[in-house]
Amino acid sequence: MDKEVVIKAENIVKKFGDRTVLNGINLEIYRGETFVIMGGSGCGKSTFLRHLIGALKPDSGRVSLLGKDLSGLSEDALDAVKKKIGMSFQSSALFDSMTVGDNVALPLKEHAKLERSVIDIVVKMKLELVGLRGFEDLMPSQLSGGMRKRVGLARAIVMDPEIVFYDEPTAGLDPIVSGVIDKLILDLSKKLAITSVVVTHDMKSVFSIADRIAMLYEGSVLQVGTPDEIRKSDNQMVKQFVSGSPDGPIKFFQQKDDYLEQLMK
């Protein structure tokens, strides 16, 4: 059976001022897979993610989500597509003044005219899926970092999305809690048949959850492949990133000859 493409990026270019952040990215993501976009800090992966969810428009190129070209959509049509996606933010992005239950319920209240009693049941069902049932009445400040992430996940899936985007889901978490979050992403993807797109530089996470991986470097895709293909890559930059070596073609500092000139300007 042919794989159904649910996300298609065609030649995406984005510049911030003089700096080219995305330099012609082409990618296809299939229904039901867990696709990881990895790369070092500043490689453009979070900017690329923001293009995929329609939060940023490319200078050129186009993004199609669930068969719809985002560039040609009206505001209402874009909103309709956005209802089919969920987003889990790096910072969890919970409202500290609202209970856990109200945070999870927020998209339901924004999009639908459901009665409170029905919303409460949906919230309980979603918190059960992330292992936090019974925490509805707590405030985010009473939770650990890992629990806050899980609340963010519950909120990301509250509208039954077809695609969930995760921005650095394990950033700032210890290895055990990171493992718990990875397992949860896999569980939710398989159980709910969700397509998952994960942006991360956590290599342990990459290899434990990915069906396929794209490695980004300086706004371009270096390689797309299965975890095995990435592990055995001949590309020196991919090799260096996977091994975490400071020595290699990837430079961790911007080497500019005009440093002293810049200071004296």
Partner: protein, 110 residues
């Protein structure tokens, strides 16, 4: 979504058609609120023409069951596709509802 109700052998059979999603689950609730207000003792919800149920639909069904139980009413679900039954299993609701293969099975012994 549409609901056709039929009184049959002393119980109410409600045949639902189409998607039960966030745009129409409040309408589904209204249909059942009326039956619950009349303290309908036994209800079978028939799913063979239901194409999709989202979380709001599942939660609405839980709410209906909860309200029926408050006066001792009984409810069974019948005729679900494997895909929809899978949704009940993921959310563990298959352990909450009496889910029968066919309408006839659901009516028998209710």
């Amino acid at each position: 979504m549409a609901v056709k109700t039929e009184s049959k052998n002393g119980l109410m059979v409600c045949r639902v058609e189409g998607d039960i999603d966030i745009s129409c689950s409040p309408d589904l609730k209204k249909v059942f609120d009326k039956l619950i207000a009349q303290k309908t003792p036994k209800i079978v919800i028939e799913f063979s023409k239901v194409t999709y149920v989202d979380s709001s639909g599942l939660a609405t069904l839980v709410g209906i069951l909860k309200n029926m139980r408050s006066y001792g009413g009984r409810m069974r679900l019948a005729g679900m596709s494997t895909k929809i039954k899978g949704l009940f299993e993921i959310t563990k609701l298959d352990k909450l509802f009496e889910i029968m293969a066919t309408e006839e099975e659901a009516i028998a012994g209710l």
